[in-house]
Structure formats: C-alpha cells, structure tokens
Symmetry: C2
Amino acid sequence: MIDKRLLEFAHRLADLARGETLHRWEAGCEAQDKGGEGGFDPVTEADRESERAMRALIEQVYPEHGIAGEEFADRPSQGPFTWSLDPIDGTRSFTCGLPNWVTLIALLRDGRPVLGVIDAPCLDERYWAAGGSGLFVRGGREGALKASGCAQLGSARLSTTDPYLFKRAEAEAFERVRRSVRTTRYGQDGYAYARLAAGTLDLVIECGLKPHDYNALVPVVRASGGAIGDWRGGEDLSSGNVIAAATRQLYEESVSLMSGAD
Amino acid sequence: MIDKRLLEFAHRLADLARGETLHRWEAGCEAQDKGGEGGFDPVTEADRESERAMRALIEQVYPEHGIAGEEFADRPSQGPFTWSLDPIDGTRSFTCGLPNWVTLIALLRDGRPVLGVIDAPCLDERYWAAGGSGLFVRGGREGALKASGCAQLGSARLSTTDPYLFKRAEAEAFERVRRSVRTTRYGQDGYAYARLAAGTLDLVIECGLKPHDYNALVPVVRASGGAIGDWRGGEDLSSGNVIAAATRQLYEESVSLMSGAD
C-alpha cells in the first residue's frame, strides 16, 4: 500500500506544475529546439520551470527520494522511491495553443510505478491512482476510474498521437489495427490514456515512449480495469512500444496484430 | 456591413447549442451510425437536439431566412440570408470523450459567408467574425483575431484532422507539405481554424469538407488576416479541399505543393 501522504504530495506536485504551465500556455510560449536525431524537438520555459518547481519541492520534503525527469539529469534515490516527472507531455500541442497536453507524475517503488497522476491543466481535469484504485475529476465532479469493457476491435475507439511516428513494419501493423477498429482519433498524447481509464476511449497504441511518458499511465490504466503492456504481450515497456486497452481481451487481440512489428 | 443584431443573434444560437451539447458530452453520449459509403459515420442525440433548437429559434425570429444544417433537410430562403449550421463538428471526438469539437454557425448573404462563429463548449472558448473584423474569448478574456504572420513552410505549425482521409495523389501532396513544415498536429476538426485565427497554428489542410464544415471558418480566418481557399489557389471551396494559412504567402506556397492533387 502507498502511504496516503504520498498521494497527497503527488497532488501538491501537480498543483505546483499547473501554476508554472497554465499561465504560460495562456500567454503563448515560444518553443526552443532541443534538437536530436528525430528532428525538431520542442521545449519551453514552461517545461523547465515546471519540472524545476516539482524537483525543488521533492528535494525539500523527501530528500531521500530519487528524481527522474524529462528536462534535467537524474537524481539517484537513497531508498526504494523515485519520482518520474514529465512536466508537459504534449509540448507540440502546448506550443500550438492546443489544450491536449498533460503533466505526468509517477512514484516508483523499486523501479515499478505504484502511483500515477495525469493532470490536464487547460481542461481542469485530473486522473490519479495508487494502491490499485483510482479517481478522476472533470467538470468539478469526482468519479471512479472505470475502463469501458470494450472487448472487440470492431467496436473499439482507437487513439494514437501521431501515426507518422510508426516506421515500416510498425506502420503496417498499426494499419491492420486501424482498419479493424470502429474509429480512430489522433493528437492526444498522455491524455488519451486518461480518457481510456475514464471509459471513453478503448485502445491506445504508441511507439517511442520514454519512461517519463509511460510511468504515470500504468497505475491509472490498471486501476480502471484496463490492461497496459508492450506490443509482445509482456509488461516491459522499456522498448517504448505501448498498448493500453479497456480489457485484457482487447489488449491481446491488439497484440496479435502488432507483435512482430517491434 | 452586417447588422449588429444578426451577430448578437448568432451568439444566441451558439449559447443555445451549448445548452444542448455540453451536458450530453459530460454525461457521455452514445453514437449511432448514419452509415454511408465512407463507413462508420457517427451522429448523436446531441447533434440532432442542438440543430433542432437552433432551427426553431431561427424560424421564430427570422422566418424569412433559409437554413442549411448537417442533420436535417434544407429550408429555402425567402431573401438573401441563409444560416449554415454544424451542431457538432468533430462528432468522433465528442463520442470519444475528447474536448476538441466545435459548433459552427455561419450566415450567408447571396450564398457567401459574411458572419462566422466557432464555439468550443468544453473549452469555454468562442471565435467570431463579421464585417471583416473578429474577436475571440478564451479563459474569460477577449482578444482580437490575429493570425501569426508566418510566411514560411519551414517554420509553420500545420494541422489536419485525420491524415488517412487523403487518398493517393492527395496523400502524396500532403506528405510533401508535412515534410516541409516545422511540426504537425492532428485531431482538431474546426477548432484548428480557430487557433489559426488566434495565431497559434499557421496552416490547416483538409479534404472532404462540406459547406456546413467550412462556411463559418471563412469569415473567421479572413478577419484574422489569414487566407483560406481551395487547393488550386481559388476561392471555390465546394470541392471540400481547403487550405487555411496565416498569410497569403504561406497559402500560395502550400498551393504550389497541393495543386494537381485534387
């Protein structure tokens, strides 16, 4: 079980991040290019200041905890706990003035995510889970996380952020899934997993995710009754190839179309 | 010039539509299939009730005006004016519990859109234009519509709703543009044009739009200083192939890559 104080602390981190990101998004925030082999990779002052603020609070309250964030160097843990931080998941949307970006906060115990928060500041929504159960707030009302129960590809609502991220065999495999489902949506980054956990999307397939992208998603999706794993049917997400599904059956049906592509 | 009362009336229509759509989105709304050759084509009670409410108000206040909406049969005009209504542009997003859907309202005079409203209920944002000038409200604050001024494909932020809607030569042409721009986002439907008019996206390219999809966009984009036209450099949008750009130069650069594909 996760101490209640740790969950309360995760909410404090999410509040703090909102305080750094939301007003910069409203004012408009210039993107700089982090560069790298994948071409244009945007980062903003909001990413950096938000992560800086969360790190400072963790160092103050839990100096023995480790920190692994997107924008700065890892801080090793002196015990079982490490925080995984993505101040803005969806920086491209952020810099295009779109509301579909989230802050991702996870707590790892011995390397496994045991607490996750997905916070959507522009939408005033938050989704969180710890100890196997989870809640969300939308429109000022709290509800229990509950995946849809969809067990058939043919009736599934699929989401992926950017279909051009799939290369060669990946793209062919994704195409098989896309042609099998009822409808497909794009551009949602980590918010898609939140809506899966709330029951309005049924399937999310993505590649190239980093630990700070997926750690917070795992407790949230599992607390909703959904399944999340890799493209081969296992639980090792370090390849960055992730499938989240409303049910185990839908996950396995998707694995049967995606496996072999990674 | 457009009578101020007509603009005020358009806002009343948008308020009325919100009253029909937003609570159904929050509660979750089952999609029915309108069918048709393009496969699954969702429609909800929210689409129908919202359009029904707007039609009733128009018939009551302006019985001589025509009405052309997405969900019901056209009502011919007895004068120069016709209302073009799309109660939910982005019904797929609506049924996936995503906030990126809008209500589109346009007033046509002698067949040309002279007033446009793009309303985003979940985001509490509205964008409108008449008589060549336009405003928007976001986060409770009003601002003037102003496109970004981006004149180069290489620095442009591009958006399209679903890249799989482009077929064969269209897909190849879109791919040329996608490879030329700085970043591409997906899944925004009519909201993308609103963000272009507010200066945070620079380019939107889409195919297969219907008159109720594009009529409201035209006054909004033009009032922001942006350009909107077809893929051949003309103003006839009836092919459904639309390019909106922050500047005339960016529009023409895009036309040079897209023309010949339609």
